[in-house]
Symmetry: C2
Subunit: 497 residues, 2 copies
């Protein structure tokens, strides 16, 4: 089988056996069957447990995979590490194509685990007889439709609780099962409307690793953003080649968090996934050469993923020069953002003449606007209100001028959100223009928490991001510039050949 | 009057005149009177407006301060800039001691504003006849009691909406009115239980500035944390002297955000508060010499302020060496935190023998604990559950060992919060030990948003901070180390004299 066929089978199995299925709802082997059945996996599910009694979620227990008459694509293991070798033999006999092993206790626990690994290598003839994902992982997830919609469905092999999710254009490949489990739930409930297509937990990657899945995702048209967490590179050269392929695609971005870059981190990684120490300089060289977006923490990883997801969904142009504007009702926020903009190598350029003229119109004489593109909009709002004009009309005029201004590639916004002064954060009349114009619009919301959350939900329903801090907002614009440079550098190289 | 007497009068006036008081609830001059009356300011309030008709919040309008019979300590101005000189003359005639000028349109708008300033300097004889806060500010706030308590009260001269607030040990001094207004409301509603004692908006600081208020706050026993936002230093030498005084106090910390450190930021600051450009290297030298905590954004400023506030409230010891432990249920989170810990010059030290023995007891044989102080607690939890032991008892044992371990100065915690598995985030049995032991305990919460927020509220009710990202958690520990070094370096200097 080609790599594409293998990975396709792992992500789209037609029938699966759950080895270690359990009637006890507190056990992982119960939740895997629960996740498959209740999320409408459209293939066959065979619960396997020699001690299993009767049915589980309407499905009959079988003692062994050898008792199944039909063909089986995948076996999902939720049993202690010691039992795996003999059960794998059954799977090979049954001609099952792949196994997902979620148990831990292999490379990461020293000698005993290494012996187990050697046994598995022998049984599988170095994975010629059956392919393997894991061990020490949270399984594979494919989301076909949102959990609250009629189209709910997909493939769910995690032992985590998987009851609320949304489909989108992001895929995760992770060596930390938490990112495919608890943290993913956190992300779903924290960011309204964020969506994922695949959640791939590769664990210790004894057989299949990041490159195998990456190669598949590059050709998958449903995925625009690939968010990766690695504790080691399996084949750095291959990884670089794949990243280079992504650079040539206009609609794909890779974001990477590399764990274990420091000596202390490597000690931690070793006890987590059995990773051997890698040279810090080598790691940094790989990441630099790969021309991908690097994130320093899980927070950055998912925030960046959401930003790119929204930008691809709304077909925004990425900045080429880093020239941005800001519309804010606070001089202090403008000043701090200017410092942060400078720190991250972006700029507030001078406004073009036509847009400066528009600002002169809406600003009061006693407080003329800046010539550079930091728009402290409060005086213009005050003037509007004094003349009984809806302040939203002023915002609309300013936005329109900035969208038409060729010096400007995107707009930062600070919005004051308060129930009492809802006229300032009511964007209903201009939301379509904000969404459908080609320039990224980013928001920072300040005010009463409930009103901030309401506005944030409204923005995200229109695929417009807001950020919890000014620095987050600036950094998320910087990565768009970085990505457009990654891609154009590569295009230059290609053209000069 | 001494500086202390002047500032005391500004923060604790016995009677005030609100010049520009208005019957229109949408106007700032209405909200100032509203804030004073409804928040139970216990002095006299005189609404002044020559066009004022009848009463406002039960108080009779007067045409001029000269119509008031009683003594008046302060005049709060909410009128357009052009009207201020002549009204100030009335205040001087009435022998009012201080004026808070909230209008903008002075140094920041060029020639016209500079002329106004010169006029004010002449009228006041360089502020010998009356002292001044502002212009271009949000006034002064003193909080005596929480808005929802019986002790509700204080002094409130801001034109912002001031309906929900809590008293605490933090004071703000800011050149951005937003931090004293909309953003402060944001902070109150975002961080349950954060409390402030004063909110001081100094605006363009034409007369009184950061040093005058800082000098007063250093001697005020109700304040432990002073959070400052500046766009310029008024007298850098004096500022350094005051910071040195703070270093000698065991119970006070200054946190500073400096706006306008870059050329772009200075352009923004100039159009905001009329600040003239300062040399970036000079600014950095001042901050370094001052030995204070520097924050890069508003988000950091208030997060750091909250952390110090809680640490002082619970009398925690600040770390001296940066040796921290982590208790996490995710190897990936442990690895990333190890990298971040290294990045910020902290360390996970080796556990002492007695605490390692405790870990050996609670961990299963197939997954022994690390010898260094990163505790991946999940296997121990699993072992407890298999033996029908409450996993919280395991957490309690581990915490107890870490608290007794002399190698360790604080504990990071990752907590999985889910309604289904509440046994993992139910800290009720051990919260008192977490709070009352001398080591800082920091939390990172992951899981369902509602459950995360519930746990966060519970922690903050006990003055224990949680953070939205691992990097925030690590940075907030780093500043404790930095502050203990600031103070000990200074103590060394003092001792060697």
């Amino acid at each position: 089988m080609s790599n594409s066929e293998i990975i396709h089978t792992f992500l789209n199995p037609k029938s699966v056996a759950v080895i270690g299925a359990s009637s006890n709802p507190l056990k992982g082997g119960n939740r895997i069957v629960n996740n498959l059945v209740n999320n409408r996996f459209n293939g066959m599910v065979h619960p396997i447990n020699p001690n299993g009694n009767g049915e589980i979620y309407g499905l009959k227990f079988k003692s062994s995979v050898l008792d199944i008459k039909e063909e089986v694509d995948l076996a999902i293991f939720y049993v202690p590490n010691q039992k795996i070798p003999s059960l794998l033999k059954d799977c090979i006999e049954k001609q099952i194509k792949g196994a997902i092993i979620e148990a831990s206790g292999f490379e990461e626990v020293g000698d005993m685990g290494l012996e187990l690994r050697d046994e598995i290598l022998e049984i599988t003839d170095n994975f010629k007889k059956i392919r393997l994902v894991g061990p020490n992982c949270m399984g594979l997830t494919r989301i076909d439709g949102d959990s609250r919609s009629e189209n709910k469905g997909g493939f769910f092999s995690s032992f985590g609780v998987f009851s609320y999710y949304q489909r989108g254009n992001i895929a995760i490949i992770s060596q930390s099962g938490m990112l495919n489990g608890g943290y993913l739930m956190h992300i779903f409930s924290s960011y309204p409307k964020i969506g994922f297509r695949y959640s791939i937990s590769i664990g210790n990657k004894m057989d299949l690793g990041e490159n195998d899945f990456l190669e598949y995702l590059i050709e998958d048209p449903t995925v625009n953003v690939i968010a990766i967490y690695l504790e080691s590179f399996k084949e750095p050269r291959k990884f670089l080649d794949l990243c280079n392929k992504v650079k040539k695609k206009g609609d794909k971005t890779i974001i990477l968090v590399k764990g274990g870059v420091s000596e202390l981190g490597q000690k931690a990684a070793h006890s987590h996934t059995g990773t051997l120490a890698e040279n810090e300089r080598l790691i940094n060289a790989i990441i630099k050469q790969a021309g991908i977006i690097q994130a320093n923490s899980f927070h950055e990883l998912f925030q960046y993923a959401r930003t790119f997801s929204m930008m691809y969904t709304t077909k925004k142009n990425f900045p080429k020069n880093g020239n941005v504007s800001m519309v804010a009702g606070s001089g202090g926020a403008g000043t701090i953002t200017a410092d942060l903009t400078h720190k991250h190598n972006l700029d507030f350029p001078v406004l073009s003449e036509p847009s400066y003229k528009v600002l002169l119109e809406v600003f009061p004489e006693w407080m003329p606007p800046n010539k550079f593109s930091l728009v402290d909009i409060w005086p213009a709002m005050e003037k509007a209100m004094m003349n009984n004009i809806n302040p939203q009309l002023v915002t609309a005029k300013v936005y329109d001028a900035l969208i038409k201004d060729n010096n400007i590639e995107g707009v930062f916004n600070m919005l004051f959100c308060s129930k009492l002064y809802r006229q300032f954060n009511d964007l209903s009349g201009i939301i379509d223009e904000i969404r459908n114009n080609p320039k990224p619009f980013f928001f920072w919301l300040v005010g009463d928490k409930k009103e901030v959350e309401k506005t944030s939900r409204f923005l995200s329903q229109h695929d417009i991001p807001d950020f919890p801090s000014l620095e987050d907002m600036v950094k998320n614009f910087k990565i768009l510039l970085q990505e457009s440079r990654n891609k154009s550098i590569d295009l230059l190289k290609t053209n000069s050949k």
